[in-house]
Symmetry: C2
Subunit: 200 residues, 2 copies
């Protein structure tokens, strides 16, 4: 039997709910264990129970309210997970990408050769120059520091980037393929009923 | 200024979270006011606060937990909303489609020439024979009673049907076009960054 793969997907107030739900759901369909972790707006080293209790859910970018599986803590380390995901949504991506513990974890995952997936987030992790993409609205923040691509999904070693809600299906299916293989990608895409010529 | 359009989108335990989130979010991007309403598993005439309090969120088909805006009640009538949406996900669609108040409301919306949108749900509303589609897995329950289509989205007068997570973007964008026009559809699709040749 294949080894159980595990992913942690970050969520904050303002996270893009389609990007979050499509990624989480698609990974679960592939048999990957997903844990969503709430990052509070307060840029401290870690979230506390108090902050979390102030609203037991993340209010996403268009008002969908999602209850996270757990709180973000520094111990969501690459020895415990195969994949760290940061969805977009301007306000949510800001909260997440400005958190210094998240920035540190991103580098830890990459150094440990575990995958990091990001959609359209403004990036503040001081990663080496490499190919990436993002939402067009933050291209200008990235194109001088990285080899900017307009592909729907860019895989640069263990760093996987994508553009927006409209590219999240191929982003999630690419992560499935990287973690579980091409056959699993097909198995997962089939019952999702993509129109001909799209992502299957 | 254009009149404010309003949609109610039903949710239950087992609802497909991608289908829910993509539809809700896309409609909100078009300026449509969305209200999600929780239908309890108990097939009574209406949900009660007690049932709702037993879990203040819907646990969706792949484990995403979504807090609804309100509880389902019989007064979500077509004089108050322009659009009633029933997302798929086998268990959620069963709960919703077997609820006799929902069945009654679907007919009320159609009779009032308000829109009803359904994704992949098994249908028990005794609607007149017409074109529709569904998830392939429930085709056999529908093809004798309706003119079954395998199109990604089928618009039959005010009844709009679709197939699964992979067809939910065109489903939601079709609803935007029907309620707000072709221009609004384009305005909404642009920033969602669909890959060339897909749904824009």
């Amino acid at each position: 039997m294949a080894e159980l793969k595990k992913a942690v997907i970050l969520i904050a107030d303002g996270t893009e709910e389609m990007e979050f739900a499509i990624t989480y759901d698609t990974l679960v369909r592939a048999g990957i264990q997903c844990t969503s972790a709430y990052v509070s707006r307060d840029n401290t080293e870690e979230s506390t129970d108090d902050e979390y209790q102030s609203g037991p859910y993340a209010t996403c970018s268009r008002g969908v309210k999602i209850v996270p599986d757990t709180l973000f803590t520094p111990d969501l380390t690459p020895d415990k997970y195969d994949l760290l995901i940061i969805p977009g949504g301007a306000a949510g991506a800001n909260t997440i990408s400005q958190n210094s513990v998240v920035q540190h974890l991103v580098r830890e995952y990459i150094n440990a050769k575990k995958y990091v997936g990001m959609i359209c987030a403004a990036l503040e992790s001081n990663l080496p120059r490499q190919r990436l993409t993002s939402h067009p609205s933050v291209k200008h923040q990235l194109e001088n520091h990285y080899d900017y691509s307009e592909d729907a999904v860019v895989v640069s070693d263990h760093f996987v980037t994508s553009r927006g809600p409209g590219t999240t299906f191929p982003f999630a299916l690419t992560l499935v393929e990287l973690l579980c293989g091409k056959e699993k990608r097909k198995d997962v895409a089939g019952p999702m009923v993509f129109p001909h010529g799209t992502f299957a």
